[in-house]
Amino acid sequence: MAPTATQAAGSAPVFKTKRPLPFPLNIYQSAIGRKWVMAWTGIGLLGFVIVHMIGNLHLYEGPSRMYEYAETLRDLGGGLLPRTLLLWIMRVGLLAMFVVHLHSAYTLKERSRLASERAGFVGGAKKYASKRDYIAANYASRTMRWTGPIVGLYVLFHLADLTWGWWLGDAYVRGDPYHNVVESLSSIPVAIIYVVANVALAIHIFHGTWSMFQSLGVNNPRYNGLRRNLATALAGVVLVGNLSFPVLVQAGLVDEDNRDCPINDTTGLECLGETAEAH
């Protein structure tokens, strides 16, 4: 049909409207609602990243304190709940947030790609023939779709490395995180992976922290300036904290010299437990 004033070519919807799911699932069906969910899951993940980083600072207190910290996590909930139950609940919650965050990121990016069809969508942004002269978009905001997946892959690597001990082999001692961290990070390639991934994470957090305020609609002209400051501060703290581990291990400042216990999963762990109890 020839385009007319009310049936113009530009009036043809690009996206089909889906049949609405029951509330509250319909919120996730809309792009704005999905972005809202993405922001909430981002906050959850961000909370994890910060707590995880701070917790890991126990590394600087030596093997037995690190052991004690790990045990404390497993004992969360005290005598009220079965051991590790609360930890598992948190792990499942974290995994769920991770999956939803990824799904929303992927599908929303896909929507933007389709909405820019014939405009040559390259590297997460549509393209004009003249060099795009970005004014407000910064490096962090334009690389979310790269820093995100880098962090995602890194998380898998990190679990395989320090939770499952895939490649540390016999050197991996389940229950002795201090030893495992030092063992793993003293390899140069592994240290490099940790550094690169955490730089990516910090860049991701820098845009994410500011972006989530917009997505959630948390906006007050009087305090808006603080959002950038918060983003810089959080990205900076996470960057410095997380980079300190590979850097200090590589520098030889964190090593096994301060260890009084043997390195094995029987007498070693018993000894760590007793030392932790003693102080």
């Binding site: 549509k126 023939a129 979310m144």
Partner: protein, 278 residues
């Protein structure tokens, strides 16, 4: 028109004398996108434009090139324009990779050639987004914006007989912010500048200017849901780059986008109550 990729024509030569130039003149090279129809392949044509007065607007520059094309028996370049005073939102164009050119808070019709330098090569393209199909050359169809307005960009409540003046008090702050939002001229530069082809800035401005004032309250939640969901039939997803605000000739604030996001999720909850579902 020949099918060659870059066609050069001396558009400048024929009618130089008809152009009275006061003060400085510029000699420019323009690379302009030409496309015969929505589905035809487009390409850049290069035009020399000598002796351009610095007092001209960018649209007048295109007028000159078109006059010269017509005199030479060629088809003029199509571009959108209307008021030429920065208030109608009809003019468009990506000029050197910026919507409405590099001047902040300026429409293409208000962009003057004195902002360019002698010898500049200027690339001119249509606004791009799937929902803005090219009609011809630099003209794009922005009727998707009309569909968003139709979905709720109005107030239709029965107000009864004419009331007293100032019967409905409007807080000064609300009136001011509402006016800031109402400054949007619907040009689409925000969509053009957006790396995601999202229309958040336009839609949020159109929502805020009604949602902030008392008259807009009765339909606030319906309006928000309807306009957002119509927008989402056409446009990409905002990732808060902030390019739209920078491109916007009316400097519409990103704050309106946050306001819309907040209202949308609220609307999803409130509209359920309105229909007795809670």
């Amino acid at each position: 028109m020949s099918g060659a990729n870059d066609v050069t024509s001396q558009a400048g030569q024929t009618s130089q004398t008809s152009q009275q130039s006061h003060g400085r003149t510029l000699s420019l090279t323009l690379r302009i996108w030409r496309q015969d129809g929505p589905d035809a392949p487009g390409r850049f044509h290069t035009f020399d434009a000598p002796n351009i007065s610095e007092d001209m607007s960018f649209l007048e520059l295109l007028d000159i090139i078109n006059e010269r094309l017509i005199e030479g028996g060629d088809v003029p370049i199509e571009f959108d324009h209307d008021c030429r005073e920065g208030i109608c939102g009809m003019c468009s164009l990506m000029i050197n990779g910026r919507a409405h050119g590099h001047e902040l808070a300026t429409t293409t019709c208000q962009l003057h050639m004195r902002k360019f330098s002698d010898g500049d090569v200027i690339t001119v393209e249509p606004f791009r987004a799937k929902a803005f199909p090219v009609v011809r050359d630099l003209v794009v169809d922005r009727s998707s914006f009309d569909r968003i307005i139709e979905a709720g960009g109005y107030i239709s409540v029965n107000t009864g007989a004419v009331g007293d003046a100032n019967q409905t008090p409007v807080p000064k702050e609300a009136a001011d912010t509402s006016m800031d939002a109402a400054a949007c001229i619907g040009c689409g530069a925000c969509v053009a500048a957006c790396p995601n082809s999202a229309a958040q800035l336009f839609t949020s401005a159109k929502l805020a200017h009604l949602n902030l004032i008392p008259q807009g309250q009765p339909q606030r939640w319906e309006r928000t849901e309807a306009m957002v969901e119509t927008m989402e039939q056409f446009f990409g997803s905002c990732t808060n780059h902030g390019e739209c605000t920078e491109a916007c000739p009316k400097e519409i604030s990103l704050d309106f986008i946050a306001f819309m996001n907040r209202d949308y999720v609220k609307a999803k909850i409130k509209n359920r109550k309105l229909t007795g579902q809670s």
